[in-house]
């Protein structure tokens, strides 16, 4: 896909802060027909919002279902713990999960449509 699009975010609203429980998460489906799996949007400590791919790099566990603490989430399947801002797994496990850009304005949460439309962008950018 076009690299240019990635540099010009196309923000799309996915709801308000109140739509996610404190220390909770909502799953976001990608637009119809786009591959790449769902995105997990977290409301972490201090109402900070993070978005990561809803699949643990270990065995594909849905991170959206994990327990949230600080700015971290523990995968519900085998307890791999991720830093939500960087997507890095906590050592000594190794790996990382794709993170997504998030914008919050007046408690409304936005994701970047271009990013959602480009399941392979992660590999290109990183």
């Amino acid at each position: 896909m076009n690299q240019k699009n990635l540099l010009n975010p196309d923000w799309v609203s996915i709801g308000h802060l109140q739509d996610i429980a404190p220390l909770g998460c909502r799953r976001v489906k990608r637009p119809q027909g786009v591959k790449g799996g769902e995105v997990a949007v977290f409301r972490a400590e201090g109402d900070r919002i993070y978005a990561v791919l809803d699949a643990c790099p270990h065995k594909g566990g849905p991170l959206s279902q994990g327990l949230v603490f600080g700015a971290r989430v523990a995968c519900p399947l085998h307890n791999w713990t991720f830093d939500l801002s960087s997507g890095q797994v906590q050592s000594p496990d190794q790996g990382c999960v794709q993170t997504f850009s998030v914008k919050v304005e007046n408690e409304e949460i936005f994701l970047d449509r271009n990013e959602l439309m480009n399941p392979d962008a992660f590999l290109q950018v990183h």
Binding site: R26, V28, G46
Partner: protein, 833 residues
């Protein structure tokens, strides 16, 4: 702090205890201090315990470095290697140090750690300054010994303690003829009793060492070149040829500098429970130079514990306390199994002068097994039904288990007859087949849950320098899941990291967010009337703003079980299964198990289940072991509708709660049945469902002693007999198969409800989170439970009333969403156009 410049932390000493403390400090607060370290040796921090394997040629020097120079750079530590601190000016707060070339450096400090370790003790013998006379303490000594072994034939080691024997073994392996001179009546007299000491001597003689036991060295004689050539013993004209003499008669806390600084010292630098010197609040001491409550520790695990406490204070957390350690010993001579811990001398304590009045103590008992032919000797010392010491030779496979019993003060009266035969004789399936960690091959699997073999664990221990079970869990995942291989992993840790391994902490912190234990949290919640998670974090000074995945579910449970109807459930502090009220599966779908009272169902329920399976295309339907039906592969989006369409109550198969009450058909149909077990099961299940507990709870009721409902492996098992009901408790069919113990015999169904309920309420109020009833009962002792439930009718009735009060009006989470605080938003993903 207004000051832009960071406070300065200076450490004198660059050994294992001090550097571990810095590591702990960086974990808590990486940028708080400018750190300066003075190390007298020219090496970065290395694993001193591993010097023996290096001497024996089993490891190389590179392999034992724990913190490479890059580690110091990474943490911006000003490191002065080869510089010995010569003077400290406490009024100006400056440390002066010098190297061998006479260069001098100085460093100002705001806080100072004295970690000068210990010095080998040299006997003041004639000839002690001859060439070829060494101590055995550091890399330089080890290299000198290796060098000597290349050129010379005969060695004498003075001192038959742990260190001396390891030195002797290493020199022998390098081809020298070694004689050990030992002054006490048996070897390793501080770690072994006389019998085990004699066995050790015998097996070392077989390997080729020679001994002079009970012998005093008179003097060392040199040749014309000024090198030692002979050792003379006292009281005779016996001379032993020796081109190398290693003195291993003990170590002394290195307090010379501390004394020159006028810090108060007894055997070591006297410190408080926060590792602070009692003389100067800016100065701390830890490790082998520190004296805590009159004890100077020389093993690595207590020193690491001290490091952790000190780091906590340096990081300005101020809550940790060091309260002393129990230690255990293991000899690092390959092929010799030896283990001792605690008050292992037992009744023979009077044989050595420094033991207390243990022998006079009437309550001390010994259990001894001795098989001289096989070279096996085991002694267990018991006092007041608790293990207080153990000394093992030849078969140390259960050493870590005994050590655990000892440390935790477990009540052993009930397992006393089996104690000697080890943990594997208690019917613990996780241990069967592993007779000895040492005899396992590298490719043998240790942890069945995570597929970790012995080789991988040994490799991680050696390469990463791991010392504790926790570290091995983190790096290899071994024993990190079900925990049944914990004993085995501890043994491997002992064999690999050697003698000084021991898991010291007497109490276990809940998780990394705190130092307090489960019991302390329970006590605080009750005593201080804490009813919200935030106040627990605040009162107990949690290190994290909202805990972690380990502590939050535990605290949530403690609040709810201590203050029913008062404390608010926090769904975000529950694991996913309890949050979505279904069991997550490996592919992210869920399983649904509706409740079937006592395993009985009917055509209407079965028809609805069948319709749901078709309607929601549920791929697998399975009958469970708890007499219910499991629908597997349900999509999260469908859960709410599946529950509604089935129209049966939640089976709580996903929760730490009452699961099933399994029954046989009983007297209603069975020609052998003596009691109506199905009805009893239904009554119990209706009384107890929705009961959250520290862990899952399973019941069973059989109508006759044939026990078709398998009541013998349940948390509460009930067996109908002609004259009433027999109650068994604390059974377990899981990881650790445990046969339920007979508790009481009752006449009426009403009594069965009351006694079962009271026991479960006791467990709910006192059990630690994720502790099954069998673990709870073994922790507090069956006697305690009997006392509360059987001997105190008022306590029993009060417990039963409290349980009924807690469960009254509790919602069914599959239908009463609001009351059960089920967040329905979780079931529907957000759609983007």
């Amino acid at each position: 702090m207004q000051n832009l410049e960071k406070p300065k932390l200076v450490m004198i000493g660059n050994g294992m205890a001090g550097v571990r403390c810095l590591e702990e400090l960086f974990k808590l607060s990486p940028d708080l201090y400018d750190v300066t370290v003075f190390g007298a040796e020219p090496h970065p921090n290395y694993n001193r315990i591993a010097l023996s394997p290096v001497l024996a040629g089993e490891q190389s020097l590179d392999e034992i470095i724990l913190n490479p120079l890059s580690w110091y750079e990474e943490h911006r530590i000003s490191l002065h290697l080869g510089f010995e601190a010569t003077r400290v000016d406490r009024s100006e707060r400056v440390v002066y140090a010098k190297n061998q070339q006479g260069q001098e450096v100085q460093a100002r400090y705001d806080r100072l750690i004295v970690a000068t370790g210990s010095m080998p003790f040299m006997l003041p013998l004639e000839g002690v300054n001859l060439q070829g006379v060494l101590a055995y303490r550091d890399i330089a000594d080890t290299l000198a010994m290796i060098e000597a072994a290349k050129h010379y034939q005969n060695a004498v080691v003075i001192g038959g303690g742990l260190l001396g024997l390891e030195a002797a073994n290493g020199l022998m392996k390098r081809g020298m003829k070694v004689t050990v001179i030992h002054v006490a009546p048996w070897l390793m007299e501080r770690q072994l009793d006389p019998v085990a000491g004699a066995l050790l001597e015998k097996s070392l003689v077989q390997r080729g060492l020679q001994f002079k036991i009970g012998a005093h060295t008179d003097k060392l004689i040199g040749n014309e070149k000024g090198r030692v050539c002979q050792v003379a013993l006292k009281g005779g004209d016996e001379m032993i040829d020796a081109d190398l003499v290693v003195m291993a008669v003990g170590i002394r806390p290195n307090t010379a500098l501390a004394q020159s600084m006028r810090l108060h010292c007894d055997r070591g630098i006297v410190v408080s429970d926060t590792m602070q010197s009692v003389t100067d609040p800016k100065i701390y001491a830890l490790g082998e130079c520190a004296s805590h409550r009159g004890v100077v520790y020389g093993l690595v695990a207590p020193l690491f514990e001290q490091g952790k406490v000190l780091a906590n204070h340096l990081a300005q957390m101020g809550i940790a306390r060091y309260t002393g350690s129990i230690t255990s010993t293991k000899l690092k001579v390959t092929g010799i199994d030896l283990f001792s811990a605690g008050e292992f001398m037992g009744l023979s304590a009077s044989a050595i002068s420094n033991a207390h009045d243990l022998a006079q103590d009437q309550e001390v008992e010994e259990i001894v097994l001795s098989d001289p032919h096989e070279g096996v000797y085991k002694k267990l010392v018991i006092k007041n039904d608790r293990l207080i010491g153990a000394c093992l030779f030849g078969d140390t496979v259960d050493g870590s288990w005994y050590f655990k019993l000892l440390r935790e003060g477990t009540h052993v009266a009930e397992i006393r007859d089996k104690l000697m035969f080890g943990e594997s004789n208690l019917g613990d399936v996780g241990h069967e087949g592993h007779s000895k960690a040492q005899s396992m091959r590298d490719e043998d699997e240790v942890c069945g849950c995570n597929g970790v073999n012995k080789g991988a664990i040994c490799k991680a221990i050696k390469e990463k320098g791991l010392f504790t079970l926790e570290e091995v869990r983190k790096h290899t995942k071994a024993s990190a899941s079900c925990g049944s291989c914990t004993g085995l992993v501890e043994q491997i840790l002992m064999f690999t990291s050697g003698g000084d391994y021991s898991s010291t902490p007497k109490k276990k912190a809940i998780c990394g967010c705190t130092d307090v234990s489960h019991q302390e949290v329970r006590d605080a919640i009750k005593a201080q009337r804490l009813i919200a998670m935030g106040s627990v974090f605040e009162t107990l000074a949690w290190r994290t703003p909202n805990g972690c995945q380990t502590c939050r579910p535990a605290i949530n449970y403690y609040l709810l079980s201590t203050w029913p109807k008062l404390a608010q459930d926090d769904p975000q502090s529950r694991y996913i299964n309890e949050r979505s009220h279904a069991n997550i599966q490996k592919d992210g779908t869920y399983s649904v198990i509706p409740r079937m009272w006592a395993g009985e169902t009917n055509s209407g329920e079965l028809r609805r289940i069948a319709d749901v399976v078709d309607k929601y295309k549920i791929p697998t339907v399975k009958v469970t072991g708890g007499q219910r039906i499991d629908l597997l592969g349900v999509k999260k989006e469908d859960l709410v509708n599946v529950w509604k369409d089935i129209g049966m109550p939640s089976g709580h198969a996903y929760a730490k709660a009452l699961r099933t009450v399994k029954t046989c058909v009983g007297s209603e149909w069975c020609r052998f049945g003596t009691q109506d077990s199905t009805q009893m099961g239904k009554d119990l299940e209706r009384a107890l469902w929705r009961m959250y507990a520290p862990h899952k709870v399973k019941l069973a009721v059989s109508g006759c002693p044939r026990n078709c409902a398998e009541a013998g492996i349940k948390d509460v098992g009930i067996i109908g007999v002609d004259s009433g009901w027999e109650i068994y408790i604390a059974g377990n069919g899981g990881i650790k198969t445990e046969v339920a113990q007979f508790f009481v015999k009752l006449k009426t169904a009403q009594e069965v409800l009351e006694y079962s309920g009271a026991f479960l309420q006791l467990y709910r109020e006192e059990g630690w989170y994720l502790e099954r009833t069998c673990h709870y009962v073994s922790r507090v002792g069956m006697e305690f439970v009997r006392e509360k439930i059987l001997n105190e009718p008022q306590t029993r009735q009060a417990l039963w009333e409290r349980l009924k009060f807690s469960l009254d009006g509790e919602p069914d989470p599959w239908f009463e969403f609001e009351k059960a605080k089920v967040d329905l938003r979780q079931f529907t993903p957000v759609e983007i156009q």
